[in-house]
Amino acid sequence: MKVLVTGITGKLGRLVAAELLQAGHELLGIDRRPWPSAPPGVEMFQVDVRKRPAEDVFRTRRPDAVVHMATVTHLRHQSPDRFRINLHGTRAMVDYCDRYAVSQLVFVGRHTYYGAAPDSALYHAEDEPPMGLSSFPELADLVAADLYAGSALWRHPQLATCVLRLCYTLGPSGRGTLGSFLRGPRVPTVLGFDPLFHVMHEADAAAAIALALERRLHGVYNVSGPPPLPLSVVIRETGRKNTPVPEALVNLALGRFGLPRLPKGAVEHIKYPIVVDSTAFKSATGFAPAHSELDAMNEFRGASHPAYEASSR
């Protein structure tokens, strides 16, 4: 099968590419960032998913399936560009899939969709609406992209659409949304709060995405591996130092004293848990994680952290 992967140069994109190559698929890669060391079997197009050259890839190469991962998921990154990439990029992908008779679309979203709040339930099921939008409007673009991709399920019934909501990933790459929060030696927490964090190994996440493609999943699925752990345990097991800050001072302290910068609403995400129920995905695919939470944290601990080293230099 000819599979187009957008956002292929990212951490998870490369891992998914490796999985799909191993399964014998022919790969097309789209990313704004170059991937000079792309393995043979991947035809790279260094273009923007929203621009005309991206559509040309569909027109000339005719992929059978698309794995759409070109979304900005950082809790830190703020720019109007992010909104355009996440929502308009997703819209473009759905349109191209329909226009060029692609048979399968896998949208890789995040479990942060559900939002973190004092009255949100542990173990979110797929039918729950997003809750955290009022406290964390910066997340609106990801939520909109997720719902837009889901709408392809009824708008384009001939296209097998699968929306995945992945929990946090950690691993030897040292990257990812949670990875960048944990990149420094000191990790801020809110004094008196220690929420559960749902973490899986990045290799398992890539395997789950490949599996969704393999099984031609249709619908919305949460993806997680091992059970969640308290944030304090994640910090300790990744060799970081837990730095509790009283809530009133959190916004002052972030971005200073070697602590990462976070938008205001992200503080809710270190106060309250986001934990997902992935029973539906596991029973539809037979997915079982190959790595424990301990492996994920240990391998992250041993990773070099280019982002942190570059910014502290």
């Binding site: 004092p118 009255d119 339930a121 542990l122 008196g192 709060f193 559960l196 059970p227 969640p228 752990l229």
Partner: protein, 287 residues
């Protein structure tokens, strides 16, 4: 043995009594190698919490539990009872009774008012010991997982009872009954007496509460809502089963709710007689 708990290994470990340690080991909870269950319940936090409540339960208060054999030793059940004033002391004592009186000990999950989850410190402690916000999603999940759920159908209307109203019942919600029917969970009715004597609330300050981000601030005759070493009585009645789907019309569900309410009212009457010496323990009718 020290529990490698959620809060780091170098933190000083508080004294954990041998009884509590042994009972925590016998809790049927699926702890991970970190001593954390899938809901984030922490083995070490449990041991510390129950070590503290052990003294209050056995020494400070004079607690009498009758009919604990009516609480199932395994499988799901919903413990449904009255608030007896005194803020949330009744809930804490019921949870302690599940740990200290049942064989094997069981962890009872209360369904809390949502404001508690946003209080620093309180939030962390409560979720470490398995006490979650009262959401239908939590209730269904815990019952489907064959756990014990503690429900006060009087809700916040009930915790706000003044000392003078302690042994009365206010209106019951119907949500608990629909949940019990939908999850096919037996309802174990219970009566709690003495909360109003432990914390004799004479007034609730709603305005001050609003400023502090809590529903109200209780005021006692001696101002602070600190519990006095009162006599507390907890009577568990026989389990009641209700057939149905939980989607029945309101009047049908209300009938079931009334049966539970009447059962609790009867247990309360007998409890009052027991405390007044007019009734012996062996004479209590649990059904």
């Amino acid at each position: 043995m020290l529990y490698r708990g959620a809060h780091g290994t170098n933190r000083r470990v508080r004294v954990v009594s041998a009884t509590v340690r042994e009972r925590v080991e016998r809790l049927a909870l699926p702890f991970s190698p970190y001593g954390v269950d899938p809901y984030g319940i922490d083995k070490r936090a449990l041991a510390e919490y129950f070590s503290r409540s052990e003294w209050l339960y056995h020494n400070y208060f004079d607690v009498l539990v009758v009919g604990a054999e009516h609480v199932p030793a395994s499988g799901r059940a919903m413990l449904v009872g009255n608030h007896s004033g005194g803020v949330a002391l009744d809930g804490a004592i019921v949870i302690a009774s599940g740990f200290f009186e049942l064989e094997p000990p069981r962890l009872i999950h209360a369904m809390l008012d949502r404001f508690l989850a946003s209080l620093p410190g309180v939030s962390r402690l409560l979720c470490r010991v398995g006490q979650f916000t009262g959401l239908p999603e939590h209730a269904v999940r815990l019952l489907e997982d064959d756990r014990l759920l503690l429900v006060f159908p009087e809700g916040a209307r009930g915790t706000a009872k003044l000392a003078s109203q302690a042994h009365t019942l206010v209106r019951f919600g119907t949500g608990f009954m629909r949940l019990a029917m939908a999850t096919r969970s037996p309802v174990v009715p219970f009566a709690f007496l003495g909360g109003g004597e432990a914390i004799p609330t004479v007034r609730n300050l709603y305005g001050l509460g609003k400023l502090l981000g809590v529903p109200y601030v209780p005021v006692t005759r001696y101002v602070l809502p600190l519990p006095r070493p009162a006599r507390l009585t907890l009577i568990y009645g026989e389990p009641m089963r209700f057939e149905g789907t939980g989607r029945e019309p309101d009047d049908e569900v209300l009938e079931h709710v009334e049966r539970v309410r009447a059962r609790i009212a009867r247990l309360l009457e007998q409890g009052a007689a027991l405390r007044a010496g007019r009734l012996r323990e062996s004479e209590i009718a649990f059904g």
